[in-house]
């Protein structure tokens, strides 16, 4: 089930709110309500996959209990941690990467090993990473192992962050699973945040998606330089509003039930270097890889530049693969690795961050690299990128580009304005009193939420771009 749908908004959410707040006074019952409804939420896509998630939960629960019990017995806890991580990686390997690996071997060696055609469980990367976070945090002593299987089940399957993140670390919510306090202020702020996220997804991301689908489906011969840049830029905007919209909805929903998730985006489009961009984009995933992969490998406090490069390479290959089992994702990760390494070693990143041209530099590079994950293959991605630079005799501009710009003008303007931290600036410059400003914001949120619900109900166009993740 996706948040921006009638089934969720008008049925699942009100029923969950009613049942949860009826059971709120007994924490165990309230958690059980959330867990059962979260499993139902997950089953909405494909009921069979609930069994896979439950298997993952039980294994990680047992391993965490074992790790805690063996904490003082040298080596044995670590062995269990390795078992847990191996099982999680194996789950990902079987369900997400098996066919990718077989296909790659087939192409490389010219053999014909049959593909498994195993369906990809939605959100498997998100819940597997959360499961690993649980056992690793227990191993590191950052949280206690849960005796109660239901609590682990709730942590891993909690519906707000289940299929599209943010990746919630166990240490972040360990205390809240059993000891949270639901306040009216949290509920109000959560509902407000949810509405903002819903509007971002339904109005801006979906509108951009329409344009992007059209442009990327055009044959190479009909592309122009300007159209290819328009398509690529709008795809980056689509991914941002889709992803940050879902994150807003997840964070808002979490607050409505008393949970406090960490922020996942921090105005990434104001970044002046690619390094800064990644400090502001998908923060939960970046910090996950930083804390569970990069730091254990030695991080940046290593003696040789080669070792630093290796550590970063490992992180970015994994980041690419995490996003999708395809060479386009691997290539996407490698390109970001190359740019980030260059920024780090040459000081280019720091220099750019001090100059205004850094905006243009960062956005142009991120837009270019993001083309890879929208393309069906590496060759089509590079063919698209070639068009962006006018190779192959593409025209600079045409009537189609002008038509699309006019047709999507308001969405593009709104998307750009809303991606920048302009609120405080506008209020200050126009000297708008706080009360008037807040009321205006409230009215605006109510209006865009209504328009967003109307849009999803009317159009039926609601792409789910995390399917690969």
């Amino acid at each position: 089930m996706v948040f921006a749908s009638n089934a969720f908004l008008f049925f699942f959410l009100p029923i969950t709110l009613i049942l949860y707040y009826l059971a709120r006074k007994k924490r165990a019952v309230a958690n059980a309500v959330l867990t059962v409804l979260s499993l139902l939420f997950y089953a909405w896509g494909e009921p069979r996959f609930v069994l896979i998630m439950l298997l993952s939960i039980v294994i990680n629960w047992l391993c965490a209990l074992g790790i805690e019990a063996l904490r003082n017995k040298s080596g044995k806890g670590k062995l269990l941690l390795i078992v847990a991580v191996t099982v999680n990686v194996a789950l990902l390997g079987v369900f997400k990467y098996a066919d990718f690996a077989i296909g790659s071997v087939n192409s490389l060696l010219g053999v014909e090993i049959p593909l498994t055609h195993i369906a990809l469980p939605i959100g498997i990367s998100f819940f597997t990473f959360q499961a690993m976070s649980y056992v690793i945090d227990v191993y590191r002593g950052k949280g206690q192992a849960q005796r109660n299987l239901g609590n682990v089940c709730l942590y891993i399957s909690f519906f707000p962050q289940l299929i599209a993140g943010p990746i919630v670390r166990y240490e972040t919510v360990a205390g809240e699973i059993q000891g949270r306090t639901e306040t009216r202020e949290d509920f109000y702020a959560g509902a407000r945040r949810f509405m903002v996220g819903y509007a971002k997804k339904a109005l801006l991301a979906n509108a951009m998606g329409k344009l992007v689908d059209y442009v990327f489906a055009l044959p190479g011969g009909e592309m122009t330089v300007s159209l290819s840049w328009l398509g690529a830029a709008c795809y980056l905007i689509q991914v941002y509003y889709d992803f940050s919209g879902y994150s807003d909805m997840a964070i808002g929903l979490g607050r409505m039930f008393g949970f406090h998730f960490l922020e996942n985006f921090n105005f990434p489009f104001i970044a002046k270097s690619v390094t800064e961009f990644w400090r502001r984009w998908h923060i939960s995933m970046c910090t996950w890889f930083r804390d569970y992969v990069f730091f254990p490998l030695g991080g940046s406090r290593v003696k040789s530049k080669w070792r630093l490069a290796f550590n970063m390479l490992a992180v970015w290959i994994l980041t690419g693969l995490w996003h999708g089992a395809d060479w386009t994702y691997v290539c996407w990760g490698l390109l970001f690795f190359a740019v980030l390494l260059a920024e780090k070693l040459t000081g280019l990143g720091k220099w750019m961050e001090k100059h205004k041209i850094g905006h243009l530099y960062a956005m142009a590079l991120v837009t270019l690299i993001t083309v890879l994950i929208r393309s069906s293959s590496i060759s089509s991605a590079f063919s698209y990128i070639k068009t962006m630079f006018g190779f192959g005799g593409s025209a600079l501009f045409d009537r189609l580009t002008w038509f699309l710009i006019k047709e999507y003008l308001w969405y593009i303007v709104a998307a750009v304005v809303c991606s920048l931290p302009l609120g405080a600036f506008i209020r200050r410059r126009l000297r708008i009193p706080e009360g008037v400003w807040e009321i205006a914001c409230g009215v605006a949120i109510a209006c865009v939420m209504l328009a967003a619900v109307a849009n999803t109900s009317a159009t039926g166009y609601n792409p789910f771009i995390y399917y690969n993740f």
Binding site: N6, P47, F194, E407, G442, A451, A454
Partner: protein, 403 residues
């Protein structure tokens, strides 16, 4: 102040979602319950397991939730209104629509046509010719935009319905199929857009369907040397009853009355005497009618205004049962058996064909239990006619296994 505003927003939000849920259950609860407890069985595969059953029930709930919530029409109209901000000319209502300079609304076919889309139909036609000596002909039903230069702004660079139609018919002809293109009917008879295209509905008018059936039957008869009495389809031999301001099609209902006007509907039936039988030959329903064309083929109840509305939603479907597998028998027509694979555009064409051939079988593959080849083997027709609009060439499969 921020807390106060958030409080009122949250209250509004909760009241709205709980209100819509309660209202929907009150109004459509029976549909939801039927889908969950009984209707889901239609979607089960052969030999279903427990997960298939759960999955099918969830699908039905999801389907109902997306189509049956209280106030859905209001939301759709609001969406249309909020989308048409100048300079925007298109409205997204599951597919895209665009305002024509003539004031009506018309479906925009945005999906690109590629040759691969018709490969299955070409292979099917070749196989039928080789194995059963049954030729296949195509009546291409152009969905919209018969005129050049009527699209607003630069829309013609986006909506290439006509050039896609050119590619489609060219590929079919190159592969040896006899193809009649309804655009030739439009120009050949000097029809106007008002005569050819409904404004409130994605479908063409019955008049356009009749002219196309007339031309198509003549063309196929001459091309393939078939005995079809195409002269019986001459629109000059038909009575016309006009129902003013009757049709309000599905797409227009998503936009609202303030943006789209109702369509007049012409009911066309032969002035000459006819006698035929009409029966559904699929196994589910038993429908049998005998009498004149008007008494058997035309389902007049669809011309009535529905419920509280001052319009009919189904007036387009007045010619026979859409999605049904129908056999008509006309003793007075030449002894020729025609198998028509049709979509909703081809529906009236297949019914008009009953006047030109003795046995006409019409099959809609979207609701069929077998693939196309099965029907040819079973019926052994003298000709197969595929009467599809552009979208159907993209979307309807030859090998469909039924729904």
């Amino acid at each position: 102040m921020r807390e106060k505003v958030s409080k009122w927003l949250a209250i509004l939000f909760v009241v709205a979602i709980v209100g819509v849920m309660a209202g929907t259950i009150a109004v459509h609860g029976r549909n939801f319950a039927y889908g969950f407890f009984k209707g889901y069985k239609d979607q089960l595969p052969d030999d279903p397991d427990i997960f298939d059953s759960i999955s099918a029930r969830i699908d039905r709930l999801d389907y109902n939730a997306s189509r049956r919530i209280v106030g859905l029409d209001v939301l759709r109209h609001l969406s249309a209104r909020t989308q048409i901000l100048p300079p925007k000319v298109m409205v997204n209502v599951s597919t895209e629509m665009a305002r024509l300079s003539t004031g009506g609304w018309i479906n925009v076919v945005a999906e690109r046509f590629t040759p691969e889309k018709v490969n299955d139909i070409i292979s099917f036609a070749k196989e039928m010719e080789e194995e059963y000596a049954v030729p296949t002909a195509v009546i291409y039903c152009h969905p919209a935009l018969y005129e050049e230069g009527i699209q607003p702004g630069d829309l013609d660079v986006y909506n290439q319905c006509n050039s896609y139609a050119d590619s489609l018919t060219e590929i079919l002809r190159e592969n040896g199929l006899s193809v009649w293109d309804s655009r030739d009917t439009y120009t050949g008879h000097a029809l106007t857009m008002d005569e050819a295209v409904n404004k409130s509905d994605v479908h063409w008018t019955h008049l356009m369907a009749l002219y196309t059936a007339y031309d198509g039957a003549e063309y196929i008869s001459r091309q393939l040397g078939l005995d079809l009495d195409w002269e019986k389809l001459d629109p000059g031999l038909f009575s016309r009853e006009m129902y003013r301001n009757l049709l309000f099609g599905e797409f227009a209902r998503r936009l609202g009355r303030s943006l789209v006007t109702l369509d007049d509907v012409y009911l066309l039936y032969p002035q000459y005497e006819t006698h035929l039988t009409y029966e559904r030959f699929d196994e589910e329903d038993e429908v049998f009618r005998e009498g004149s064309f008007r008494e058997t083929v035309i389902e007049s109840e669809k011309l009535e205004k529905e419920g509280k509305h001052d319009y009919s939603e189904n007036a387009y479907y007045v010619y026979g049962s859409n999605l049904a597998q129908v056999h008509t028998y006309n003793e007075a027509a030449p002894d020729t058996t025609v198998l028509v694979f049709k979509d909703s555009f081809g529906q009236p064409i297949s019914m008009f064909m009953s006047l030109a051939a003795r046995d006409v079988y019409s099959v809609d593959m979207r609701d069929a239990d077998h693939d196309m080849k099965y029907y040819v083997e079973k019926i052994r027709p003298d000709v197969v006619i595929i009467a599809y609009c552009q979208q159907s060439f993209r979307n309807i499969e030859v090998e469909i296994e039924g729904n």
